[in-house]
Symmetry: C2
Subunit: 145 residues, 2 copies
Amino acid sequence: MPTDPIRLQQYPCFRELTEEHREAIAQLASEECYYSGHTLSEEGKPGTHLYLLAAGEVEVLYSIGEEEPTRVDRAHTGDIIGCSTLVEPYTYTSTTRSLTEIEVLVIDAEALRKLMNEDCPLGISIQKEIISMLIDQVIDLRLGA
Amino acid sequence: MPTDPIRLQQYPCFRELTEEHREAIAQLASEECYYSGHTLSEEGKPGTHLYLLAAGEVEVLYSIGEEEPTRVDRAHTGDIIGCSTLVEPYTYTSTTRSLTEIEVLVIDAEALRKLMNEDCPLGISIQKEIISMLIDQVIDLRLGA
């Protein structure tokens, strides 16, 4: 079910968008709640959804060698999960699983890519927000925050 | 002095661009060599240039509290330095300084932003490459690589 565009304003990455663009994205998004232990993405699998974590905590796991996926990071409120769904080959680069009850905005990645292709200024705006969030993530990881 | 567009093909992030786009970027770029100890970017200062490291090693430093900038990472051949010059507020988020002799492709960030604004498909292509490189950087940092 589409989300009310006004709800998107709570996510910093959408605040700079025009109202028209927020309305278009709201059509592709739904707000969901999941219990602890819910898998959002599986490493190497097609990237079907982009997630914005509105509340709760998520673990990030990677397969290292042939061992079981290992936790290498945690995502917190405000983080975006599944940026790799927006760039080729459109697959998840990690497995993510809720550690607590979580609230997430779930966006249909394929539909978002189509929208970004059709509306170039919207594509540019969203990509800029993704770049800013990734730069912040790199800084946090470098500082061990 | 502009770079030969063919030279841009050695940088993975430009390989997917059209020849026309590579020609446009080559006009804004120059290949430079610097000795060890050369400062490429200063944390908090206006982001004037984007760098692609073709050879050598660069240290990445952050100011933590009121202390002198501290080394928190290293950049290696193939890395991009100064992604933050492409997103507001267009300032460097870290100080970077060569640890060895380096070869870099130096791109005028303001001119690149202007080009990306004027040519939306080019903007989309470049930003996709930046997102891919940042995702790889996040993975490397998470894995402690």
